[in-house]
């Protein structure tokens, strides 16, 4: 897991610098934002010529999932002021997924959450620095296929959630809408538009009228 986060961190640093960011910007994002998907999104939108407002708004919407995550694992990180203040920053997809898997043993869940969160933070930031440094030398990270590593990693993370048919229908509808909108709308907006896929969650109207009792 640490190796994968490092590889994606390196690819983020390299892609960010190749996309025209100053050397310190990817590290500032990795330290202060520490949410891979949104970091790639904001860098990708800006590199594609999209507006900064759309980029930040899209990234924030993507990060809104941390709220329900926090509701789910809020007690696992600890209840003190410091535990919540620091633990919240370490709330990432991976630490949540691993901590949830240990839910029946709260002490172990807490240990796993903090270990994974701290390790991921360290590895992610070191990877970002290395990638930003290497990116200035290697120039085009696409030659190393790093642009494929990021969606593939995300896919591996969301795959278990797609076993639920309702979630899968909503996600497929949303992805289709986003892809159809991509040629016509500024970068970042199509992904937000995917939320119309949530319409798949609406109860399907029953064709037969209920039989009176």
């Amino acid at each position: 897991m640490a190796g994968a986060i490092a590889v994606i961190g390196v690819s983020f640093g390299a892609i960010a610098v190749a996309g025209g960011l100053d050397w310190w910007m990817p590290s500032a994002l990795s330290l202060l934002v520490f949410a891979g998907g949104s970091q790639f999104m904001v860098v990708g939108v800006v590199a594609a010529g999209g507006g900064l407002v759309a980029a930040v708004a899209g990234a924030l919407l993507l990060n809104a999932r941390h709220l329900p995550f926090g509701l789910a694992v809020g007690d696992i990180m600890g209840r003190g002021f410091l535990a919540r203040a620091v633990g919240s920053h370490l709330l990432i997809d991976e630490s949540v997924a691993f901590a949830m898997a240990q839910k029946n043993d709260p002490r172990r869940a807490r240990a796993v959450f903090w270990f994974l969160g701290t390790m991921a933070f360290a590895v992610w930031n070191v990877g970002t620095v290395v990638g930003a440094a290497a990116g200035q030398v290697i120039g085009d990270p696409d030659a190393f296929g790093l642009d494929a590593a990021f969606p593939a990693g995300l896919l591996a993370l969301v795959l278990p959630a797609l076993k639920n048919p309702r979630t899968r229908n909503a996600a497929l509808l949303g992805a289709a809408v986003a892809l159809a909108a991509t040629p016509f709308l500024p970068a970042g907006v199509p992904v937000l538009l995917a939320l119309v896929g949530l319409a798949a969650l609406l109860p399907t109207p029953k064709k037969k009228v209920e039989v009176p009792a």
Binding site: L29, G49, A148, L154, G174
Partner: protein, 110 residues
């Protein structure tokens, strides 16, 4: 990209992260114990996160600058996806996706 945008994104992201545990604590206090959100709201929130992620994956894997991205990138992502589906370790998924995309590009596939 500038420092203001980075700080806004950082502050907003941290607010989302902190809101969960604080909201949970408040709910727990109000209910005097184990607090759970209504199942429909929980499903909506978690599904919205998945929908956004899948749309991000689809557009990142298939498009580049508003146009079709070519063969190598989707082929790499598809390889990673198949490996993940076959329960391959995360690092194998990521490396295989990168290697397939890089290999195809080295062979001249766009």
């Amino acid at each position: 990209m500038n420092l203001t945008a980075i700080l806004i994104l950082a502050a907003g992201t941290y607010a989302f992260r902190l809101a969960g545990p604080l909201l949970r604590a408040r709910l727990a206090k109000a209910h005097g114990g184990e607090a759970e959100l209504p199942p429909r709201l929980t499903e909506l929130l978690s599904t919205a996160a998945t929908v956004l992620l899948v749309a991000l994956i689809a557009t990142a894997a298939l498009t580049d600058g508003g146009r079709f991205a070519g063969i190598a990138l989707p082929a790499g992502v598809l390889t990673g996806g198949l490996l993940a589906w076959r329960k391959a370790p995360f690092v194998v998924v990521v490396l295989a996706a990168a290697l397939v995309a890089a290999g195809l590009r080295a062979l001249g596939v766009p």
